[in-house]
């Protein structure tokens, strides 16, 4: 009996870890879209400024996140305290990453790598589509990112980007949710990690 339980438990566990939750129960469909786009940081005339709240392992801190498209493939991402002191200042150009500044306490390889990966995914404007899935009211575009995959969730009717999920072959690692009322402007962004206790909540500055 114990052996039976152990075997069933192991096999359930084994099966579960083989399939990716993201596409569970979804129908794969033919597609003609070659690239999927994230329009939320694509206008070089807009200063994208957000109040940021970060929770990491139960500790809270806040600041201001500033994003700007500064060239055809360049984005600058700067995080400051509410008083304006810079905590980090990164630049992304395609696959090239430049660290213009980072506060000493944050300058640790694993922290920099997490921030780099999160914000690279956030500002990346387009990616080649590998496969497309369909749910009740969404189309989900699968793209490659190094060893991992990104799934872009677009609402059927509006074609608005609602969510990006970053996964390995079997596990969801990161989720970015967007709430957008105006065209191509994300009012609220939530970045949530599944393997570490880190969430970043962003709320766009209101117009005066």
């Amino acid at each position: 009996m114990i052996r039976f339980l152990a075997i069933s438990f192991l096999s359930i566990f084994g099966l579960a870890s083989c399939s990716l939750k993201t596409t569970e129960g979804l129908r794969q469909v033919h597609f003609n879209k070659v690239e999927v786009e994230n329009p939320y940081f694509s206008n070089s005339e807009i200063d994208y400024v957000y109040k940021a709240k970060i929770e990491v392992y139960g500790k809270n801190f806040g600041g201001i996140l500033i994003l700007k498209k500064i060239g055809p493939e360049n984005h600058r991402v700067v995080f400051t305290t509410e008083f304006g002191s810079k905590l980090f200042d990164f630049e992304f150009e395609g696959d090239t990453f430049t660290k213009h500044f980072i506060a000493e306490d944050l300058d640790k390889k694993f922290i920099v790598n997490i921030l780099k990966d999160d914000f690279k995914l956030l500002v990346n404007e387009s990616a080649e589509v590998l496969a497309v899935y369909e749910s009740k009211n969404e189309r989900i575009y699968k793209t490659q990112s190094d060893e991992r995959f990104n799934f872009y969730f677009l609402e059927d009717r509006s074609e608005k980007l609602k969510k990006i999920i970053n996964t390995t072959k079997t596990k969801e690692k990161l989720e970015i949710d967007f709430i957008s009322s105006e065209d191509n402007i994300a009012d609220i962004i939530a970045i949530k990690h599944n393997n570490i206790k880190l969430t970043i909540d962003l709320e766009k500055f209101k117009k005066e």
């Binding site: 801190f61 201001i64 700007k68 509410e82």
Partner: protein, 209 residues
């Protein structure tokens, strides 16, 4: 003829820049310091509005936030941002009490020398009385409108964060009306005070979270 005008133009421009700001003489520095210290001594409380501009060279507009600041001698300070978001921070002994839109937290700054220094700067800059700080070299300037003290950090670690710290003082009452923190990259944060009320009663209870 054209060159003549250009020359004239340059002379007018350069002389107007000179008229704007010059270095203080030794005796001017002394009397200015005395005035600021005397004012700081009689300042028991300050309530003021402020507007903060964060300037980054690649942005079209500075990032603007605003709110109220309250100071109570000797060292209680509350910064309260109200626009475009609600965020307040209270400097109390070796702690920061933060209320980030309802999320409250406490930060112990006793162990961080750098953080302590930055906070001390914020507290002291409100009063203006920080000329004896051994960590900075101070330069003094004057113009028709204001007196200015520029603090340049001696410590390399602080210099990695701040290239200079500038305080602008009213000529008449020697109160700080503008604080500017310039980063090594030349990006800066500028805080401009307005509607200042001095020495009104301020209850200690506002300095708790």
């Amino acid at each position: 003829m054209r060159n003549y005008f250009l020359l004239l133009f340059l002379i007018v421009i350069s002389s107007s820049i000179q008229a704007q700001e010059t270095a203080m003489s030794a005796s001017e520095i002394n009397s200015f310091k005395e005035k600021v210290i005397a004012t700081a001594k009689t300042t028991k409380t300050i309530k003021t509005d402020f507007v903060q501009y964060k300037h980054l060279v690649f942005l079209a507009d500075d990032v603007k936030t605003s709110g109220k600041m309250v100071f109570k001698a000797p060292n209680l300070v509350k910064w309260e941002y109200t626009n475009p978001y609600k965020y307040s921070v209270i400097f109390k002994e070796d702690q920061l009490l933060i209320n980030d839109g309802g999320t409250k937290s406490k930060v112990d700054i006793g162990n961080s020398k750098l953080f302590k220094k930055l906070n001390q700067l914020i507290v002291n800059s409100v009063k203006g009385n920080m000329f004896n700080d051994a960590d900075f070299t101070v330069y003094f300037f004057k113009s028709l409108k204001y007196n200015k003290a520029v603090f340049v950090p001696k410590d390399k670690k602080i210099a990695g964060y701040i290239a200079s710290f500038e305080l602008l003082f009213n000529k008449d009452d020697a109160q700080v009306y503008e604080v500017k923190m310039v980063e090594p990259s030349q990006d800066f944060t500028q805080i401009i005070f307005s509607d200042r009320v001095l020495n009104n009663t301020v209850n200690d209870s506002i300095f708790s979270n």
